[in-house]
Amino acid sequence: MEQPHLLFIDDEVQYSELTKEYLEMKGCRVMLKHDGQAGLDAFKSHPFDLCVLDIKMPKKDGFTLAEEIKQIDEAIPIIFLTGQSLKEDKIRGLMLGADDYLTKPFSMEELYLRIRAILKRVKVQEKTRVCDQYEWGQSRFDPELRQLVVSGETIKLTSIEAKLLKLFCEHQNKVLTRDVAMIGIWGDEEHYRGYSLNVYVSKLRKFLKADPAVEILNLHGEGYKLIFKPGVAS
């Protein structure tokens, strides 16, 4: 991961602004927000590699925010910033799937090292998964070969179709927001292609039509959801 993109949410403006600068100096891209709701809005509209969440914040606390973030992307790593010696905070954070926690006041270097360690671990997991194929119902998808097999018929996907289907697979049974999809495919926000996205979703629907175990739902105002239906005949 060359330049990890971090979402950092902390209401302590002074220290967090300087921490952001420190992390940027270390090569990270950092989006900083000062309350939970602003953090959630940012998460919905940009792809991130890791979130750093303070627990006690205005508008939405870190625990609630983490739950909502995990509903959108279950795999996103989260580091909690906890108050001094609040053991119950640490336990609750870990129960919510946090990858690590730091007690305030925290050292900027320690935060950076923990971020780096988690991202390194995630990268190893991703490398292992690169070789994987996605399988469901009567279908199999190989992102590397851009090959989709539905009910025995092999379909060669274009690069964009494959990227989109991979994003759907990574967000299976979860919301894939339009912004995350578009940035994931085209990267640059200035080159959003909302209309094209609809076209590509329609194409994937057509390809997958023969497989009753899978469906792409429209979620009005949010994006899409790829539903894998367990138990549907293979």
Partner: protein
């Protein structure tokens, strides 16, 4: 102020420490002056969040007495013991203003 902790946390980067202190001096008095207003409005959630934030900031600059007061007030607000809180906040605000030398 005792800036040794802040220095450690910032990897002894003197520039960062100085910038933090400059921002601290600009913003913290304003945050402290908000406390009585939050108390009067009985915005307990907002008050608790403000106390929590001030607690950490006082800790960063080694103002441990103030940090301890913030911790105690936050604990009272969080546990719903808000009866005598208004007076305590007023006392703290006065103490802070008297001892504050920007």
């Amino acid at each position: 102020m005792d800036l040794s902790l802040l220095g450690n946390l910032m990897g002894d980067d003197q520039q960062l420490v100085e910038r933090f202190v400059a921002i601290f001096k600009t913003q913290v008095p304003g945050q402290v002056s908000m406390l009585p207003e939050l108390c009067e409005a009985q915005d307990w959630e907002g008050l608790s969040t403000a106390l929590h934030s001030l607690k950490t900031q006082f800790n960063y600059v080694g103002m441990n007495g103030f940090a301890e007061q913030m911790r105690s007030l936050e604990e009272q607000v969080d546990s719903g013991q808000t009866d005598g809180i208004s007076l305590q906040i007023r006392n703290f605000t006065q103490e802070f203003q008297q001892s504050w030398q920007p």
